[in-house]
């Protein structure tokens, strides 16, 4: 296992390398040019050429790539074309809100999805089950902005319990932080709850009639414990996978939620940078997200072996 972990950690390097090539290519092949953007609608070609030169965009792409790559190796992701801030610093700044949002929504998701799934499996032969099914589907098929607006209109405007937008870092007070993040957290969670509770319910239903549950029931274990312990832990693998991917995805930011609740997170950063063709920032963010994905997926993979001892990697 140690061996496997080390191997996987080493594998991060080639993955990031390939990602770096592809993101560089994609970013630079996409039409749009920061020089046009900076100079605006009625700029002259000469001015644009001049600016490109200034930004180093006139160099051959290969050279640009290797310049960038060389700097990555010394931990420098470059500078934003616009703010001239270091990309690493920008990402770090934006990570706070995104990470907070991720934590809140994931906690909400887990707190709601898991008990719901267990409860539904418990009541699997009642009318609650189809009701739950429709509910979870509603969660997954309702557009986020809709839900966000409904919640904001309800709990932000009509009954002003929550602020309708904004973000307060946790360092400025836990309560304020939570207060601002709860609504966006709920919206994000709604989609995930739908998926994860569904996933869990279905996996649990798969194992609810396995022989070992009979053994547990035969011991006199409570039905709820049978479900929560025996069935649940056998059904966790796909759910964990989805949670892993979601967490990693959330760390890449969610544009819609961040926009609607004006949370200055990575998602907005990425979309703004794409709109602005802030190449170093886009590249940096994608590389960072790739890193997060690889790392979280590694953790999830290692978790599998703990969740199901039959799974072995070596």
């Amino acid at each position: 296992m140690l061996h496997y972990t080390l191997r996987r950690l080493l594998a991060i390097i080639p993955v990031l390398f390939i990602v770096s090539i592809i993101v560089f290519m994609i970013v630079h092949l996409t039409p749009g040019n920061p020089a046009y953007l900076i100079l605006g609608e009625d700029s002259s070609p000469e001015a644009i050429e001049q600016l490109e030169q200034q930004l180093g965009l006139d160099k051959p792409k290969v050279v640009q790539y290797f310049d960038w790559l060389g700097n990555i190796f010394v931990g420098d992701l470059g500078q934003s074309i616009y703010s001239e801030q270091a990309v690493t610093q920008i990402i770090v700044e934006r990570l706070g809100p995104t990470f907070s949002l991720m934590v809140i929504s994931m906690l909400l998701t887990i707190i709601v999805a898991i008990p719901t799934a267990i409860f539904i499996v418990w009541k699997r032969n009642t009318v609650l089950d189809p009701l739950f099914l429709s509910g979870s589907l509603l969660g997954t098929s309702i557009p986020e902005f809709w839900l966000a607006l409904l919640l904001v209109l309800g709990l932000g405007v009509s009954v002003p319990i929550f602020p309708v937008a904004g973000y307060i870092p946790i360092t400025d007070g836990l309560l304020g932080w939570l207060h601002h993040l709860l609504l966006p957290g709920i919206v994000l969670a709604a989609v995930e709850i739908g998926l994860i509770a569904r996933m869990l319910r279905d996996s649990m239903l798969e194992s609810v009639n396995q022989d070992y549950t009979k053994t547990a029931r035969g011991k006199g274990v409570k039905e709820s414990t049978v479900l929560m312990k025996h069935v649940f832990s056998n059904a966790l693998i796909p759910t964990t996978t989805v949670i892993g991917v979601t967490v990693a995805g959330l760390l890449g930011g969610t544009v819609i939620i961040e926009t609607i609740f004006t949370i200055p997170g990575v998602g907005q950063l990425l979309i703004d940078s794409i709109h602005r063709r802030d190449y170093p920032v886009i590249q940096g963010v994608v590389l960072f997200v790739a890193f997060v994905y690889v790392l979280i997926n590694l953790i999830v993979d290692l978790l599998y072996a703990f969740l199901d001892p039959r799974i072995r990697y070596d």
Partner: protein, 333 residues
């Protein structure tokens, strides 16, 4: 003597024991620890032994599900460990296995008929598939309307029969049967054993038959091997073994057979093995049986016996003090 079909040479299968967060290997379970034997064409070798002594592991290693730690497995003179996947595929047509566990060895989402048909399809023997499957099902005592039932709708014994039918489907040369009849009622058991014997006669099949029921073993086997803690303790033709068991472990085993005679059964004396059960991860030194052997001496603790042919030809025993002439004692029972 007919030619050897399967040869096992000093086979060892050790499972790592892992511990800690990083699952480091701290020790090994020596499930099979140096087993040698030869199985001839058309022969039935019965394997008995203590539960957990490595019988299933041995079987799983032979069919290539486990990669042995060391040793060699020769099938028709060729080492199967070096086989590539194509050769392995060919081999599997000749070597089939019936699993000890009738529940988990059947795909819960396949119908019984399809389970039995699967190996036939794998080797493109699809003409008259249904007919063949129904024949097989009838052979093992399943009804035609069981064809489309799913495994969980069968009782334990019925599932075991599906497994047997599946192994028989391809008319393999060697069938490894890991406790194939323990879940069957005696009538079906008789039916299956008769079937196996008939098939052997007709097609010259070879069986490696693992069971706990010594009566069954005796009935079906030409030769019997007795295993203990990953090692072969005694091996001989079955007549000789049952009449003249030479290893103290075999002896204890035979004495423990429950007999279907209630009066006798309640009076009977048994040899009860004393002592701690040894662990396969930390086997006793010397003769592995010495901790529980009624005849063990200091010598047994320090020296490892080998499987040797004694006075009886073909009767091998791995003991420094084999029991001689047990015939009378046995007869008394």
């Amino acid at each position: 003597m007919s030619e050897p079909l399967l040869e096992i040479r000093d086979l060892k299968m050790h499972f790592p024991i892992k511990q800690g967060v990083f699952q480091r290997t701290t020790n090994y379970v020596k499930a099979v620890n140096g087993v040698n034997f030869t199985l001839n064409k058309g022969e039935t070798l019965g394997i008995v032994g203590e539960s957990g002594c490595g019988k299933s592991t041995l079987a799983r290693t032979i069919v290539g599900l486990l990669k042995p730690t060391s040793g060699d497995i020769l099938f028709e003179g060729e080492s199967i460990l070096q086989y590539n996947s194509k050769e392995l595929h060919q081999l599997r047509r000749d070597v089939q296995m019936v699993y000890q566990d009738p529940y988990t060895s059947l795909n819960p989402r396949m119908r019984a008929g399809d389970i039995i048909a699967a190996p036939l399809k794998a080797y493109n023997q699809s003409n008259n598939l249904r007919k063949r499957v129904l024949e097989l099902m009838e052979l093992v005592g399943l009804k035609a309307d069981d064809y489309k039932k799913l495994p969980h709708q069968f009782s334990g014994g019925q599932r075991q029969r599906i497994g047997i039918a599946r192994a028989l489907a391809l008319n393999p040369k060697l069938i490894i049967l890991d406790e194939p009849v323990s879940a069957l009622d005696v009538s079906v058991q008789a039916q299956v054993i008769n079937l196996l014997e008939d098939l052997q006669e007709e097609l010259g099949l070879t069986y490696l038959f693992i069971a706990h029921d010594l009566s069954v073993i005796r009935h079906i086997s030409d030769r019997v091997g007795v295993m203990y803690l990953g090692k072969m303790m005694e091996m001989s033709d079955s007549e000789s073994l049952y009449k003249n068991a030479r290893h103290p472990y075999t002896n204890a085993l035979l004495s423990a057979i429950p007999l279907p005679y209630p009066m006798k059964e309640k009076k009977r004396e048994r040899i009860v093995l004393k002592g701690e059960l040894p662990s396969p991860s930390n086997p006793p030194s010397g003769c592995v049986f010495h901790t529980r052997c009624p005849f063990a001496t200091e010598f047994c603790k320090g020296n490892v016996p080998t499987l040797d042919e004694g006075n009886d030809a073909g009767h091998f025993v791995s003991c420094f003090y084999p029991i001689e002439n047990k015939q009378e004692e046995f007869a008394r029972q």
